[in-house]
Amino acid sequence: MKSQRDEKTDWHRLFLETSSKINPLTAQITILLILAAITIETNHIRIFLLLIVAFTISSVYSRKTLSILKFILLFTPLSIGLGIFYGLISGKSLLEAVFIMWMRIGTLVSISTLLYYCVDPWELADSLTRYLRFPRTLGYSIGIAFSVYQKMMRDLREAIDSLRSRKIIRSWLDYLLKIDKILYITVYIAYRRAEELEIVLEARSFDPYWRRERKRLKIKLKDYLTLIFTSLSIILVMFLVG
């Protein structure tokens, strides 16, 4: 058979390169820095600025600004609930408490999308076991969980399309009125995916202790720049603003 390989292509290099848009380790450190800052900060202006920082980093890497905004919107009911609870126990005004909690959850959601959109779950597992010395079983469990989550989100989109097409979901209100159907289908998909995954991982010879990772998880210039930008932004916001 005639070879389709282009002689000029360095296939060995391509196979060893990562596909994540950001080094998984850089993503984890960035998320931790933002999370630490947002947890200890109580001033609402500074929290708002941290939200902007988190949103900017995620948007630049993922180029999915609208999708990140949608995610923040999806978590708004949770933020309101937690905000009311926070207001009741902290003695702050309910409005201020809800606003602070909304910004905190928004920041958390924005920065977490780095893992969802920009990191390959298998490279995440690799970085956890290689650099952070996680036990291999735990590292790979986290990676696999991310991989299943991403698959599930795709399935859920298809399922919702099918429900819309069959007029079971006709309007936005139906997402609330027929939440039992959506939840059932979500749980069903998750259960089915987990069951299939068990078979597939076995059939594909997966064992965290046998596996030999082939990719080189290099930290590139853009990773250093991201870490510098995040750290400087946090210092600027927390110590110089206000």
């Binding site: 097409s165 059932y184 078979i199």
Partner: protein
């Protein structure tokens, strides 16, 4: 080499038929049976994933006692549900996955992966996101991945249901080479692929029809235009238009089938017609109006994601369809109605998903590969249903790779090729 003696598989209260088989190197075995007869379970027990009664030996060693790493490096498994098999996000990562799991050196991973990517003609897609591939491309990828470890035995679980004829011929060349090297193939299906992989042994797990028995009468004189597709263009990425000016009309009560190679844009076209995707340019009109979601029912290729009832009866009751329940009972499949949904085979799930959609009696129903996973008996039944429903002025537009089904059950066949539609036959 591979020997099954009084082997049967238990899954809950269900027990598969007993299988006896003795396979030598370089032989082809076909396990034939209807949907839900236990074909997949037998294959899964051969790779040691499901426990079994009786005995399965590989080169004299009992499979359940073998070292799993040794067993897996000798047997590869290709499932019927592609989307469950794919586990990474890039074509080269998918091909390299099994090799990494078996601890191959990087250099060997690259060489072996390139070899199978070339063999399956996927090399130019090396960097593509797996989830943007067409179902046919995914099927090639799964086979490439299974062959990457140079296994002695390949188990193909209904693996050719979704591949166009041209690609089947290419696979025939791959597998011929594979067999000549002394490897063994065990495949499952609803019928024997005599022209494709002629088996040395055949195991029957129940009766099924070998071909489509019914040739429906072509409906003539259809004049009332229901759907107009005008100069439709669509692209997922900037580089390539997948639809390049599609024009066609469908009439009220017509059964129209769109055929085309894997990746030719058939599913995309159906999603645009049903209002789920917006075209890049051009327009679709249903009853002279722009389609809205719900105007036309879309039945996806993967039935598992569209079913939300805990049992088929619950699923069908939701669309208030005593009609569909009666059909199932009439063909002797009434026992399915109260089975848990997750325990149904792919073919059975597809049947329920189709009946549930057809019960809604929309004026237009688009069906993506409605026969994949159905044995000929169920496909015959579905074909008859399509005929009866179209007689009630419901228009059915479906895609399929199954040319025989298209010819038996359609009024008109369109070919989608290089993003353009041609009318190719009127029976």
């Amino acid at each position: 080499m591979l020997k099954l003696q009084k082997t049967r598989v238990k899954r809950g209260s269900w027990i598969s038929p007993t299988v006896d088989l003795d396979v030598r190197e370089g032989e082809v075995v076909a396990i034939i049976g209807p949907s839900g007869s236990g074909k997949s379970s037998i294959l899964l027990s051969i790779i040691g994933v499901l426990d079994y009664e009786g005995s399965i030996t590989l080169s004299g060693s009992e499979v359940r006692n073998m070292d799993k790493r040794q067993l897996r490096s000798r047997i590869a498994y290709v499932p019927d549900d592609l989307n469950s098999y794919l586990i990474t996000f890039r074509v080269i990562d998918e091909v390299a996955f099994n090799l990494e799991n078996l601890g191959y050196e990087s250099k060997n991973i690259v060489e072996k992966s390139l070899e199978v990517l070339e063999l399956t003609q996927l090399l130019e897609l090396w960097d593509r996101d797996v989830w943007t591939l067409s179902e046919g491309e995914k099927q090639r990828l799964v086979i490439a991945s299974a062959l990457s470890t140079s296994p002695k035995i390949v188990l193909l679980d209904n693996a050719f249901s979704n591949i166009d004829w041209e690609m089947k011929k290419k696979f025939l060349d791959i597998f011929k080479e594979f067999l000549e090297e002394g490897h063994t193939i065990v495949y499952t299906g609803y019928s024997i692929m005599k022209e494709f992989l002629k088996p040395d042994h055949v195991v029957y797990l129940g009766e099924t029809d070998e071909q489509y028995k019914i040739k429906m009468v072509k409906r003539t004189g259809l004049k009332d235009v229901l759907l107009e597709v005008e100069d439709l263009w669509f692209r997922y990425t900037r580089e390539r238009y997948i639809l390049r000016g599609v024009w066609f009309k469908a009439f009220r009560g017509e059964r129209l089938t769109i055929i085309g190679k894997n990746g030719s844009g058939k599913t995309t076209l159906l999603k645009i017609i049903s209002g789920l995707y917006k075209p890049s340019s051009g327009r679709v009109r249903i009853e002279s109006r722009t389609p809205k979601i719900g105007k036309c029912i879309y039945v996806p290729q993967n039935p598992s994601i569209s079913l939300f009832g805990r049992t088929p009866r619950e699923e069908l009751r939701y669309v208030e369809s005593r009609w569909a329940e009666k059909i199932i009972e009439d063909v002797g499949l009434g026992y399915l109605l109260d089975k848990p949904m997750h325990s149904l085979s792919l073919g059975e799930k597809r049947l329920i998903s189709l009946l549930s959609a057809l019960s809604l009696r929309a004026t237009l129903v688009v069906l993506d590969e409605p026969t994949v996973g159905l044995d000929h008996r169920l496909a015959n039944m579905i074909g008859e249903l399509f005929y009866n429903i179209s007689n009630e002025n419901v228009t059915l537009i479906m895609t399929t790779h199954d040319r025989d089904f298209a010819e038996a059950f359609s009024d008109r066949i369109l070919l989608l090729e290089e993003g353009v539609v041609h009318e190719i036959s009127e029976r």
